[in-house]
Symmetry: C2
Subunit: 339 residues, 2 copies
Amino acid sequence: MIRIRDVAKQLNLSITTVSRALDGYNDVAEQTRQLVIRTAQEMGYTPNRAARQLRRRHAEAIGYILPAARPLFSDAFLSEFISGLGDEAALHNYDLLISSAKPNSPEEQASYQRWIQSGKVDGLVLNRIRLHDWRIQYLTAQKVPFVCLERSLDNFEFLGVEIDSYNGFLELTNYLIGLGHRRIAYIGGEPGLKIEHDRFSGYRDGLAAAGIPVCLELVELGDLTSEGGYRATESLLQLAERPTAIMCINDPTAIGAIHAVHDHGLYVGNDIAISGFDGVADAAHMLPPLTTVEQTVYSTACLLAKILFAQLVGSEFSEKQVKTRPRLIIRSSTGGRRI
Amino acid sequence: MIRIRDVAKQLNLSITTVSRALDGYNDVAEQTRQLVIRTAQEMGYTPNRAARQLRRRHAEAIGYILPAARPLFSDAFLSEFISGLGDEAALHNYDLLISSAKPNSPEEQASYQRWIQSGKVDGLVLNRIRLHDWRIQYLTAQKVPFVCLERSLDNFEFLGVEIDSYNGFLELTNYLIGLGHRRIAYIGGEPGLKIEHDRFSGYRDGLAAAGIPVCLELVELGDLTSEGGYRATESLLQLAERPTAIMCINDPTAIGAIHAVHDHGLYVGNDIAISGFDGVADAAHMLPPLTTVEQTVYSTACLLAKILFAQLVGSEFSEKQVKTRPRLIIRSSTGGRRI
DNA sequence: TTGTAGGCGTTATCAA
DNA sequence: TTGATAACGCCTACAA
């Protein structure tokens, strides 16, 4: 390992001078600076992170804990989300630390506490926010910078990005009603989730505005995965009177729904309309292509990270709170040619 | 922030004693140990990671750099892969550090060097290995522990997991030939990739064994994404004599291919057979469900991490090199009912 | 403009 | 069984 003292010795300079030349202080002769920078580069010197962290008292890393309900999970949303966070972090020369935990589990709590208390990360990114989320209370109390995708009912001084799920689902519901659907089912997620609350509300209010009563047998509980969507759809298809449309809380759920409908020998988009929410890249490549509400996951992740960095390093980015209106993307899974 | 000295002061003990009680040394009175552990817990003490790293000279973190060809990418393979690495790392109380870089770019090189030289990670996980891969030479020279998914031609002392892509593709080719296909196309990835080499070889040798010449117009270059698969398939469909089957290097490519075939008004599984490779969860939820060669991404990632940890902490896991035979999963994208 | 020295919080060596 | 002390590599008052 090459240390700063090795560079200093090589140049017959003091450690101080080398350190300051590298860090861009202006009290070092320009000529010396150039020499130092060049030599450090040649020698392949990179400051030891542990030492720097200890001294500077920050980690130059942000953290994100994956909401993994089971050890094995797969979610197209997450790879886009992670790459957005990672790219933005890299721009600031920060690292992205990843862990995974079952939402609302003791392990989740332990992970957050360990990261905070041990100083491994300077800030955190949260998603899958619960209506009452201990994470927000905890991080606020600990004064740890964090940003959220979606807000909870607790955090008044919300920092982050909020996707207007409610209006997205409202618009989608209106669209389906406009197509003539009356028996519209909904497959959601765990009740305490903010997105569940918002999206279901959009669905409910959309129906109400058209004078259609919410029919409880048409409301199913999924788990945000394809498997959950498949199972929930199977129940719906066994009803005496089948729904003519199924609105799914997210794209993976919708993908499972499409599959279930197909396995029942029915035609998606024709016999039954299916819609999702997220707009992950794969949604366009489904057969039939999936009608969805697009929230541009990658750029949202970048935006979240930008907001976090604005807090951490006082970067020029000034937005603290962004509310975006997702875009309804109509594809043939809600009607169109027979496949 | 609570430091070890705070705990020591609280108990009127020396820092040394507290440190050793917590670390499980046996030269501290059992009674003292219990007291220390309890108090530390009550006070919410967690060792500062930077200080510990500096002293112990390791980071308790492993790293993985995503092969992201473009800033925005999405790959079902990766979310499974990352969660496997993360779960296994968590089991050892290690963190997983994530970054992304364009394969073979100067930034990729800079990222690896920075992580190594700054001591941010104790070991690395590599995939998308190139036939001649500077990473392997560099990490070997630096004596940094690492594991690979797939091996290169350079590393004789290969540590990691090798999926037998060659035989997987051979078997798949034989299967398609057995179905009566003669014009079988191949959509691959960047030429220097190990998986491209192996999978193409399996395809070529499979054809050769059946006395079918490789027809260059049927060999297309993709980029491992759905978009690449879509474009390549469009070219194939414009040939005077269309292929009757298309073997894709991975599942995303196959998903793009299915979509392109569909857009041309043809029936996948009927007019044209399509196959993938990876066996990510979504493949089963495609329409039609995708025939693929399954490599159980999640458990492979866990296995890779296990091998890495065996090096890092001398865990009980003794396998150093695992070669797995992937499993051919036949679904209706290579023939079956019309959808 | 450059150098000296002290300390960040922890662990390890050695002495008590 | 416990405690004093010296590092780990870096940054930064302060002195020269």
